[in-house]
């Protein structure tokens, strides 16, 4: 039942409204609206110190969510990334403590991240094994391996120069926040304007059509996972350097928080739709909510439940939108 007219492709006044109704715009409004609302209740929430801590402590989630968004857009999923961040942080910290040049310690996390994820990409793409199974296996290997190798010991006495997160630009822009913004912008431009970025959407939207158009699905998937590994490495560095110690664990369900950021950011769990700008905004929103709970005297344990509500609402909205599309 289509009611289509042959209209000139030009300025459409409804286009502007559509932009405002996009997931990214809604999230930006939510981030600002929430800050104002909580600020009215408790002005201390708006203290520069607090807002910067919120961003500082969660930038690594946003960086990892950029890679996760690419993976989900390509029609895959990765649940090993939380465990991988823990492993990469430990590798990097161990090298730094044992006197390796700091740059080597940093690069090691990036290289190992790319290697592990590219390997998973190869298994998923060329052996055609579902991503959920492959990454579930990897999750266990990494988690079990890490705890066995480190025996649960923390890494302390890290050299001062190791702490990337201490770097500030212009005395006010901490490195993690800078990296989050930079990664998001670069990835967004690449997804939107490059032929490889377009290939990710095509493979996730309709792998068969992409293949017939000469786009290699396996190659695209491996590329996406390798990039995801690079971002996981960067996230691990931010995570490793924000405290003076590296614990041999990561926050529980870190991978789920990262996936939540992607999905709430508007990345369709069915593949083919979504942007990294959305996922970064969603990561910020989730962190902001966690902090806000404290300021309005609600137990921070509620954050998990709030995340759950966010994820359900977004997925339901996405599915309803698709259904309306299919019924049109």
């Amino acid at each position: 039942m289509t009611a289509l007219t042959l209209a000139g492709a030009g300025a459409d006044p409804r286009r502007r409204l559509k932009v405002l109704a996009s997931q990214e715009a809604l999230l930006a409004i939510a981030v600002i609206g929430l800050a104002i609302a909580v600020g009215l209740y408790n002005p201390r929430f708006l203290a520069v110190r607090n807002l910067s801590d919120v961003l500082l402590g969660n930038a690594y989630i946003a960086v990892a969510a950029v890679g996760m968004s690419m993976v989900i857009v390509s029609g895959n999923i990765d649940i090993s990334v939380g465990a991988l961040i823990g492993v990469l942080a430990t590798i990097s910290g161990t090298l730094a403590v044992n006197g390796a040049p700091i740059v080597v310690a940093w690069l090691a996390a990036l290289v190992a991240g790319v290697a592990v994820m590219a390997l998973q990409g190869v298994i998923i793409a060329y052996l055609r094994i579902p991503a959920i199974v492959v990454t579930l296996g990897m999750l266990s290997i990494l988690k079990g391996g890490l705890i066995s190798v480190t025996g649960g010991k923390w890494i302390t006495d890290l050299p001062d120069s190791f702490h990337l997160a201490d770097i500030e630009f212009f005395g006010m822009l901490p490195f993690p926040v800078f990296l989050m913004i930079l990664v998001t912008i670069l990835a967004a431009l690449w997804m939107r304007y490059s032929a490889s970025g377009r290939a990710i959407y095509a493979v996730g939207g309709n792998a068969e059509a992409a293949r017939l158009c000469g786009i290699s699905q396996p190659r695209t998937v491996v590329m996406v996972f390798a990039l995801h590994g690079l971002f996981a490495g960067a996230a691990a560095l931010l995570y490793a350097t924000q405290l003076r110690v590296i614990q041999s664990t990561v926050p529980p369900n870190l991978e789920l928080t990262i996936i939540t950021a992607s999905v709430v950011g508007g990345v369709s769990i069915l593949g083919g739709v979504g942007t990294v700008v959305g996922s970064t905004l969603a990561a910020v929103l989730i962190a902001e909510i966690a902090s806000a709970l404290v300021f309005i005297d609600v137990s921070p344990y509620w954050i998990r439940a709030v995340q759950g509500v966010l994820i359900l609402v977004t997925v339901i909205a996405d599915i309803l939108r698709r259904r309306r599309m299919a019924g049109a």
Binding site: R198, Y201, R211, G214, G272
Partner: protein, 513 residues
Amino acid sequence: MTTDPHSKTPTTSLLSVRAVEKAFPGVRALSGVSFDVAEGEVHALLGENGAGKSTLIKIISGVFPPDRGEVLVDGKLVDLARPDDARRAGIATIYQELLLFPELTVAENIFMGHAPRAGLGRIDWRAMHEKTNALLASLEIHDLQADRVVGSLSVGNRQRVEILRALSQDARILIMDEPTAALTEYDVTRLFDIVRKLRARGVAVIYISHRLDEIFAIADRVTVLRDGAHVATRRVAETDAAGLVQLMVGRRLESLFPKVTVPIGKPVLEVKDLERRPLTRSVSLTVRAGEIVGLAGLVGSGRSELAQTIFGVTPAEGGEIRIDGQKVDIRSPAQARSLGVAYVPEDRGTQGLVRPMTVRENFSLAALGKVAFGGFIDRGAERRLAGDGVKRFAVKTSSLEQIAGKLSGGNQQKIVLGKWLANGPKLLILDEPTRGIDVGAKAEIHRLMGELAAQGLAILMISSELPEVLGMSDRVLVMREGRIVAEFSREEATQESVGAAMMGSHQNAEQAA
């Protein structure tokens, strides 16, 4: 076109729909449509995509209620709020996508939800098999066994299972939505036999199809819808194809198959002894510049497999392919594309279109190399490319940024076709180019094919619609069991000669080979 001969209903109406209206957000799907079907009548429902046919049958089958208007069965008002209400009123619908359980047997599928019971709620398997056999016998179906697993059946047989399922529920009104869309000519003939038997039994059949020849073959009356409104109801015997098409599109089409004769040039594609078991066996063929070669055959005869082997989806195991006289070894679609081969797949939903992407993005997908520089896409060039495509193919879309999945089937097909032509191919392989799209869009695609051939493109067209094959082709090749078994010139090719070669009637095949 004067007044409707509405009143000449043969007997009393079994089902009648009165002044039904239905609106969806932003769309008026039906505005005051009346329609009726009598006992023992086949009433065809005709209209372009978006004319309101689907909405009307969904109302009759209880998928959703009308906003206004009423539905009567046996002259009594019925409330069809749910599909179950329709079933109880004796209405059964056979949708285009057959709704069967592939892992279960024929008998289990037929009696799903209403299996005969023995004591303690157990299923009475023996009664179920007996009833299934009785149903099979009543329609004289002899090549189907009650204990066959449905997943192993041909499309034609699966459809028969659906029909039996409807009969097992004592359906008196049977709605068939595009029942022949995926059938071979042979299965269509058998379907018609069954429909005639049902009619003789007094079943009222509502028959939806895009194919006019079928309507003339099987229907008693035809109702034409356009833009959600009732245009006309005619006795089939009192109308003709041109008249119906005009009612449907509201304008006169020059001809259904506007074949233009163009000079034929050098061979573009030469295939020799191509092998890819099991369905491509020692195939040799040639397609020349400006030539449209039709590839006919039953479903499963290996036509799509041959196309996919030429296109590198399933690379050849033996034999040779030449493009413009050069021997080539095509191992992937990407390579085929760079050699100037384009392939428009059979199933545009799963193989052709990226539904969540915009019209612009779909148009440029096969030609990203043309609009991307240094790995980055030039938006301006991309918009020009897509804009040209939209104009050239008359795609009805509100803008280039429209999500492609929201367009109608015909418009989607135009995008899939246009996407490939953006690349400037020399050889175009079309697999069922007009399946499931309305007559208006069909005619436009046929016109475009003629234009492309005139520009020197070599076209290999696979089609299960004989009139399309006969109407559009300069030469017709017939495949059976993975081999090319016959070749006809445009003059030699007739419904009978090509049909016989498809079925394997020997004298015809050999005479032509």
